[in-house]
């Protein structure tokens, strides 16, 4: 099993989320469905970023893959928690 690794941007907003979305799609389209996302650098995320994660997670679930999110900062964790996303992902 090959894990694909993504390190997210400092800000996942309307400007940068399309790039993240494209990156995730490219990995999934190439047949990999085990993804590790390192959020060490990320200090901001808006709904467009959450939607990129949700779209990838849907495909990963359907193909019995895995998506692990690492190094989530407290402010980002708060957003995952209030939206219920915390229960949908594996967060380490």
């Amino acid at each position: 099993m090959v894990e694909k690794y993504i390190r997210t941007a400092v800000r996942i907003d309307a400007n940068t989320a399309p790039k993240l979305d494209a990156e995730l799609k490219e990995i999934l389209d190439s047949g990999n469905n085990h993804i590790v996302i390192d959020m060490e650098d990320t200090v901001y995320i808006s709904s467009i970023g959450l939607r990129a994660f949700a779209a990838a997670q849907k495909r990963i679930r359907n193909s019995k893959g895995s998506m692990v999110i690492k190094n989530v900062k407290p402010k980002i964790m708060e957003i995952f928690e209030v939206t219920g996303f915390a229960g949908l992902f594996t967060i380490e």
Binding site: A14, Y44, S46, S47, I48, R61, G84, L88
Partner: protein, 134 residues
């Protein structure tokens, strides 16, 4: 009260963000910065994406600091299709991801992160106002 008027285009998001930050200049806003940035992005992009399907209209943002209690208030105003985003059903965050509708998340976050969020339709304008204690 301060005001900025920009075209309803995504490239003006940074101008609106700068305007909001300037309004709060001199106050300690570190603890509310995330909420404010998110509020500005979600409300501005909502107008950009939905208010003017046929034309390019304008977005007016008004607001500033209020005292006793210390708080900030910002209104996002457009002359587009009358639409109250607060009438949308709140997404059920307990639903499994497969069953979640993809929209509505932005306004949901705004309602969670601000102390007050309210909508008015007046003088042919949608006015969505957010209030956050500092």
């Amino acid at each position: 009260m301060n005001e900025i008027i920009v075209p309803a285009k995504i490239e003006y998001l940074n101008d609106v963000m700068s305007f909001v930050k300037e309004c709060l200049n001199g106050y300690d806003t570190d603890h509310v910065e995330f909420a404010l940035e998110l509020g500005v992005e979600e409300l501005f992009t909502n107008i950009v994406n939905y208010a003017y399907p046929e034309t390019t209209g304008q977005v007016v943002v008004q607001g500033g600091i209020e005292q006793a209690p210390l708080r900030c208030r910002f209104s996002f105003i457009d002359q587009g299709i009358p639409f109250n985003p607060l009438e949308r059903e709140m997404p059920d965050t307990n639903l499994p991801i497969e069953e979640r509708p993809i929209g509505g998340l932005g306004i949901f976050l705004v309602r969670k992160l601000f102390d007050e969020v309210y909508y008015e339709y007046k003088d042919n304008c949608n006015v969505l106002t957010v209030v956050k204690r500092l």
